[in-house]
């Protein structure tokens, strides 16, 4: 596979001038006009939140191949792991300190903020013009969050559906049916999951259903539950609070009761790791399947249906090129190589890709030996289709903290759900309007 090779035709000053123009254009939400032509090969830096050695080795392998093909342009690519908890904070600190990476992963929650702020350049022209890239293979639904006007401001390299992981040993010990049977019979509902979890928790003395990563702080993960009611925290255009809508009130009442009445979910301050055998079920992303071992029998099934039916939810992560980076056009060129069909297939080992041609059980199965083709088809392939993403907003950081603070009042046994949600809307409405 070959990509347009940059023409070496300008001294450093001219190159810098072109870069400056490119930066200016990027600031105006435009894409890079043409790749820079530096006097010396440049070093690229990409921030990531994985510290997995095998994933980093794969990235490096792809990057090394790019460097070999473009040795006059790039001397090396460094992948800089930053812990997930502090990822976005560290990234913005680097931007503030005038030390931006050339490329970086971006969490879907912050996508609108990064896209609308002009922090990223439009990579669509570079990807579309890259030879053999097959831009049309990218799913529109996957790109939606990262687009503005006609531009694409990040490549959604990971599309990880939420699914229900179940400890079938604990369920069987509590005399509960196998969720797969309920899926087959069409009875796999949130109420069923709650009742089975409560029974398993009572029998085992452990916990029932854990919404992983929620921990009474990351409330947005509850989207994997409230979508069953067709609920959302705010309107589609992001201007109206909808926490007080009947769907959300019902969903939150269900969650509150599941915690404090049914004992189906752990109370605040109680830790339970499904993968360590502490819980009967967990809702989490399919990418966590690698944490499973053979210490207990398990299964993975789609999210249960709520009153409004079954809804698929995905978490996304994009790779963007920073407008303030030293070499944005070269970085975009590298991104085109990094995510081209061949390499996207390699990356699919760990990250379900946005490419339609790769979204099949066969491709994903080769990379996920722990999951059967049936599981991959039902949970991953079908789970990405028509899925909604977790809540996002251009003002997400403030909304995230404000909603967390307001919902803290909900996580007590005697909470008045409607009143708390009214308070939540009162607190977040100015942020939505602003």
């Amino acid at each position: 596979m070959s990509y347009p090779q940059p023409r070496r035709r300008a001294p450093l000053a001219v190159g810098a001038g072109i870069a400056a123009v490119a930066l200016t254009l990027a600031g105006c939400s435009s894409g890079p006009a043409e790749t820079e032509t530096p006097d010396e090969p440049v070093e690229l830096r990409m921030t990531v939140w994985t510290a997995d050695e095998t994933q980093l080795a794969l990235f490096q392998e792809i990057a090394d191949a790019y460097v070999a093909e473009n040795s006059d342009l790039v001397s090396g690519v460094t992948f800089e792991p930053i812990p997930f908890d502090a990822y976005t904070t560290t990234l913005t600190t680097q931007l503030a300190g005038g030390n931006p990476p050339d490329l970086g992963w971006i969490l879907e929650s912050y996508a609108p903020e990064f896209v609308q702020s002009g922090a990223l350049i439009d990579i669509a022209p570079t990807l579309q013009e890259a030879e053999g890239y097959e831009y049309d293979d990218l799913l529109d639904s996957s790109l939606a969050l990262w687009q503005q006007d006609d531009g694409l401001f990040a490549y959604p390299f990971s599309n990880s559906p939420f699914a229900m992981f179940v400890n079938t040993d604990q369920l069987a010990a509590a005399g509960q049916p196998n969720p797969a049977e309920l899926v087959a019979s069409g009875d796999w509902t949130l109420d069923a999951a709650r009742d089975m979890s409560a029974a398993a928790a009572a029998a085992s003395g452990k916990q029932g259903l854990v919404v992983r990563d929620f921990d009474y702080k990351a409330w947005e993960v509850l989207a994997s539950v409230w979508n069953g009611w067709g609920a959302a925290p705010w309107s589609e255009d992001g201007t109206q609070c909808t926490f007080t809508e009947p769907e959300m009130v019902d969903a939150m009442t269900w969650i509150h009761d599941a915690i404090f009445t049914d004992a189906a979910m752990p109370e605040p301050g109680v830790t339970a790791d499904f993968f360590a055998g502490d819980a009967a079920m967990t809702i989490t992303q399919i990418s966590r399947a690698s944490a499973l071992d053979d210490s207990f029998a398990w299964d993975i099934v789609p999210l249960p249906a709520g009153p409004e039916g079954q809804q698929n939810v995905i978490g996304q992560a994009g790779i963007g090129v920073f407008a303030n980076a030293e070499h944005p056009t070269i970085a975009a060129d590298f991104l085109a190589y990094f995510t081209a069909p061949e390499n996207a297939e390699k990356l699919a080992t760990y990250f379900p890709p946005p490419r339609e041609s790769l979204l099949n059980a066969e491709t994903l199965g080769a990379a996920n030996p722990k999951l059967s083709e049936e599981q991959l088809q039902a949970v991953v392939v079908d789970g990405i289709q028509d899925a909604v993403t977790k809540p996002t907003h251009a003002n997400f950081a403030k909304l995230q903290d404000t909603v967390r603070a307001e919902l803290d009042a909900l996580w007590t046994a005697d909470a008045d759900v409607e009143a708390v949600l009214e308070d939540t809307c009162a607190a977040v409405s100015p942020l939505l309007e602003g």
């Binding site: 904070t89 503030a96 702020s117 002009g118 605040p268 950081a397 803290d408 009042a409």
Partner: protein
């Protein structure tokens, strides 16, 4: 007449000066001048790294932060626009900031009272010549050298609903609360975690001060019939008051700078009950990317610390031994 009197006075002064000072050896003045110049060079060379360091990493950032506070600075949007006093005007009506100031006040009061009282109590206790005191001194000082984040993470597990503290309480029949999920207990938990982390340092400072109290005075007081409490109140406390001043300044300043404990233990919650000033500043800067406003809050924090320190320094004359 006047001239004569002045001349007499001058002569008298000169004579008195001659009488009080020993005669200088020949050439001493020149040697002293040369030595002073040498000392000047050596002295300033020695302090230069510290001065340059302070200029580069304390004074310059201080001015830079003030300059930033006069701007609307969004790092994502890459905007840096002069906004004058807008950020300071915003502070006046920012309820979140007011709440964080109140949270900081409660935290400081709790921490200062608990920390100084406990440190002094432990120091007095461990100042006795009894077997095992060295072991206990080491025990209470050891948290000081432990990593703050590691220390706080361990406490976060202990304070969970099903954590070690409640497990211990259940042994004695007490159903412990969910420490980090209630406004009052969450703030108390953060204070106690911080007290146990640093009380050893203050204890050592008090121990050093206690060991400097002259035994003869205590003995004289004993002979005069003064009891233990009277000796402590009338002799020990005044004698160690300079150390109390030092410890109180350090503890108050430290209490206003608490961050990691909040970030790890409560994340500012429940609600915003433990969102102290520095945590609020962190949110504005690194979560909301509003670096201009965060810089303004930094300046406010600097002013608060400066005022509190100056007040303590000025009031020392009223209660610190030998300062008046």
């Amino acid at each position: 007449m006047t001239t004569t009197a002045a001349s007499d006075a001058a002569e008298t002064t000169e004579r008195r000066g001659r009488a009080e000072r020993p005669p200088r050896p020949a050439g001493a003045h020149r040697r002293r001048a040369a030595a002073t110049r040498g000392d000047w060079i050596v002295g300033y060379t020695m302090v230069a790294p510290a001065v340059l360091g302070a200029l580069a990493f304390v004074i310059a950032p201080l001015f830079a932060v003030f300059w930033f506070s006069l701007h609307d600075w969004n790092v994502l949007a890459n905007t840096f626009v002069f906004s004058g006093t807008e950020n300071y005007e915003r502070m006046l009506s920012d309820q979140g900031l007011h709440d964080s100031l109140l949270a900081s006040l409660w935290f400081s009061i709790g921490l200062v009272v608990l920390n100084i009282t406990l440190a002094l109590f432990l120091a007095v206790l461990l100042n006795q010549k009894l077997p095992g005191t060295t072991t206990f001194r080491t025990f209470f000082f050891s948290p000081v050298v432990v990593s703050l984040v590691a220390w706080t993470i361990v406490w976060s597990f202990l304070l969970q609903a099903d954590g070690g503290i409640n497990g211990f309480l259940s042994l004695v029949g007490i159903d412990g609360p969910n420490w980090l999920r209630n406004d009052f207990t969450a703030m108390m938990s953060v204070i106690v975690v911080q007290v146990f982390k640093n009380v050893g340092m203050n204890m050592i400072l008090f121990l050093a001060a206690l060991q400097g109290v002259p035994e003869e005075i205590m003995e004289a007081a004993r002979i005069d019939g003064a009891g233990a409490w009277r000796r402590f109140r009338a002799i020990t406390l005044p004698m160690i008051s300079p150390t109390i001043l030092l410890v109180s300044i350090l503890t108050i300043v430290g209490s206003l700078e608490v961050f990691a404990q909040i970030a790890v233990l409560t994340g500012g919650g429940p609600g915003n009950s433990t969102t102290v000033l520095v945590y609020y500043l962190y949110q504005q800067a690194f979560r909301f990317n509003d670096f201009g406003y965060a810089s303004g809050i930094s300046v406010l924090l600097f002013i608060i610390v400066l005022i509190l320190t100056l007040i303590q320094w000025q009031t020392r004359k009223r209660w610190v031994f030998n300062e008046n």
